[in-house]
């Protein structure tokens, strides 16, 4: 009996998988906003990659253009208050945003998924502790905690990422915990358990693949949140430190010159908004594609 169950468990590790992914892909392609957003984001990634090797000017070179000068042939997006090329800085800013956005979410997935799986699977005191911590975090302004953390750790790209992960892992953990709780009662998990599969195998071989859809959606929504966090910190001057530009700090620098050179603040503001929008539309699209029931 046990061996039969084991065979069954191995044969059907994840019931509705294959068709789910291809269906989801088809639905996603039909979502126009998500498609446009994906194209934009691919371009953004290319620009960020390009900026590793090439920017029109050195991003920190001052005085290469008249200060506050507006867009021109030589400087497509004009120059800032100390005569640096705004376009070059914008390209580096894209790098920073993407590193922070994607980097934090990779860590959040690792932390959140592990904590969520363990808490949901083992329940008991571990679950109580995790739930308690999550609830505490929900009750405090996470952005301000991140602010204090960066301030304590010292401003650097790594510390910003750490601060954001520390304050943003709970959504993922809570979601994965919920998925695990409901899935551990399903037949194919019980069959696997009955056949003596190790918990690690059950968690990562059976439960995780089935929770992958919601995890991807959650992480996609996490990216713009993280980018926003970084922009916020940098805007206040406790994030990315000069001369490295961040869209947040570029906007903050430009606001003082709003009257005479609005392009300085507009360029990073628009880039930031569109990027956040693209991730949110993509997240919406992924959610609708992976969970058709959530659609109206």
């Amino acid at each position: 009996m046990a061996t039969a169950a084991a065979v069954v468990a191995r044969e059907i590790p994840s019931p509705e998988q294959a068709s789910l992914w291809s269906d989801a892909w088809r639905r996603l392609r039909r979502n126009r906003m998500a498609l446009i957003s994906t194209i934009y984001l691919v371009l953004l990634v290319l620009v960020a990659l390009l900026a590793i090797f090439y920017t029109p000017y050195r991003m920190s070179a001052v005085g290469i253009a008249p200060t506050y000068s507006g867009p021109s042939q030589a400087h497509l997006l004009g120059a800032d208050g100390v005569g640096r090329d705004v376009l070059s800085r914008l390209m580096i800013g894209a790098q920073i945003s993407l590193i922070v956005g994607v980097g934090t979410q990779l860590l959040v997935v690792v932390v959140g998924v592990t904590v969520g799986l363990l808490a949901g699977y083992y329940r008991g005191w571990l679950d109580s502790v995790v739930t308690f911590i999550i609830n505490v975090f929900y009750g405090i302004p996470d952005l301000l905690v991140a602010l204090i953390l960066v301030f304590l750790l010292g401003p650097s790209l790594t510390n910003i990422i750490i601060a954001i992960v520390v304050t943003r892992w709970m959504d993922m953990a809570r979601m994965v915990r919920g998925q695990t709780l409901s899935m551990r009662e399903r037949e194919f998990i019980e069959a696997a358990r009955a056949s003596g599969a190790k918990p690690v195998k059950i968690l990562f071989g059976h439960i995780l693949p089935n929770a992958l859809g919601p995890i991807i959606v959650q992480a996609t929504f996490g990216v713009p949140a993280a980018i926003l966090f970084e922009a916020f910190l940098s805007f206040l001057g406790v994030g990315i430190q000069p001369p490295t530009p961040s869209w947040g700090s570029m906007a903050a620098d430009g606001i003082a010159a709003l009257r005479i050179a609005p392009h300085i603040v507009l360029a990073p503001s628009i880039a930031l908004s569109i990027t956040l929008m693209a991730f949110n539309f993509l997240g919406d699209g992924l959610r609708d594609a992976l969970d058709p029931r959530s659609r109206r």
């Binding site: 906003m33 916020f232 206040l236 406790v238 709003l258 949110n280 109206r296």
Partner: protein, 318 residues
């Protein structure tokens, strides 16, 4: 509405909030004081002078004594200590004064957010699957994707720069001029603070309304011969508000967080500006004080939300 059970519940919650605030305050206190480097270092003081200052702030005592004194101060006198940068400035009165300013702007933002969000959400739901609905649902994604400082920038460009140019400076929004707290000064920052959340409230309201207008009691209300507006407001919206209320807690947190940036941009001398400034000045004492205040505000806001549930939904009793 205020039954004995509710009063007991409120009492319990207040005690709980007090403990949470104390805990948050302690964590921040201990976290910050464990670190080397503080406002005093940055002033490049030397020898005797520095020693004297350290002594003035009791920073020469062991950490646990400092903590004990701090805690007694907070609990018995509500005393959050003295500013490290501006010697002699007591934090509690400072923070309370700034709180009233922030609360004013925040309240405007809150009312605006909820008002606009509800109206847009209801309209989108009532006109489901028409162009109005599509425009509103799409712009709501745009709305919550725009960082508040971007919204603030656009508002300033329009109302402070463009309008000033158009009217030869006769009528425009003056940035950072002396803060009087007049309505004219409040509504731009309130809009910038609230707009992203208005989009979220609108989305939630729409979903919630769509759920509610399918319910049997809406059909009953129609069968009675009620006017459509009465049905939507009195019967549908009342019920649709129940799930929307959940967002109020995060909304208050969002407005508090947003105020840290918005107050800076608009030159509002409130808690948020103080918080950002103190962090840059490394004035730990104020950072701790303001954060303690924030913890208290969030606690009270969440309690308020719980009580609101009782008001909206008679089935809920504590």
């Amino acid at each position: 509405m205020l039954t004995r059970g509710t009063l007991i519940y409120i009492g319990q919650r207040i005690v709980l909030i007090a403990f949470t605030v104390l805990a948050v305050s302690s964590i921040v206190f201990l976290g910050i004081h464990r670190l080397p480097g503080d406002a005093l270092f940055s002033e490049h003081l030397h020898g005797q002078q520095y020693e004297l200052l350290l002594h003035h702030y009791h920073l020469d005592e062991p950490l646990w004594i400092q903590y004990r004194d701090y805690l007694t101060g907070v609990v018995t006198r509500g005393d959050l200590g003295e500013s490290l940068v501006n010697k002699g400035v007591q934090i509690t009165p400072l923070v309370l004064r700034e709180l009233t300013i922030s609360a004013e702007v925040g309240a405007f933002a809150l009312i605006f957010t909820i008002g606009l969000g509800l109206v847009l959400g209801v309209v989108a739901a009532v006109r489901q699957n028409t162009w109005v609905d599509y425009v509103l649902t799409t712009t709501s994604v745009i709305g919550y994707s725009m960082p508040n400082f971007v919204i603030a920038t656009f508002l300033l460009l329009v109302f402070a720069v463009w309008l000033g140019n158009q009217t030869d400076g006769a009528f425009y929004y003056q940035i950072g001029g002396g803060w009087t707290g007049s309505i004219g000064q409040i509504w731009l920052p309130a809009f910038a603070l609230g707009f992203p959340y208005a989009s979220i409230v609108a989305r939630l309201t729409r979903a919630s309304m769509l759920e509610v207008i399918r319910q049997d009691y809406i059909r009953t209300a129609r069968a009675k011969g009620l006017k459509e507006t009465v049905i939507m407001v009195r019967h549908a919206l009342r019920n649709a508000l129940i799930p929307v209320t959940t967002i109020l807690g995060p909304l208050v947190i969002g407005i508090i967080t947003g105020s840290v940036i918005i107050e800076n941009i608009f030159g509002i001398p409130g808690l948020g500006k103080e918080f950002a400034q103190s962090i840059l000045n490394r004035d730990y004492a104020i950072v701790i004080g303001v954060f303690t205040m924030y913890a208290a505000m969030v606690g009270v806001a969440n309690l308020g939300v719980d009580l609101l549930y009782v008001l909206i939904d008679p089935r809920i009793r504590y």
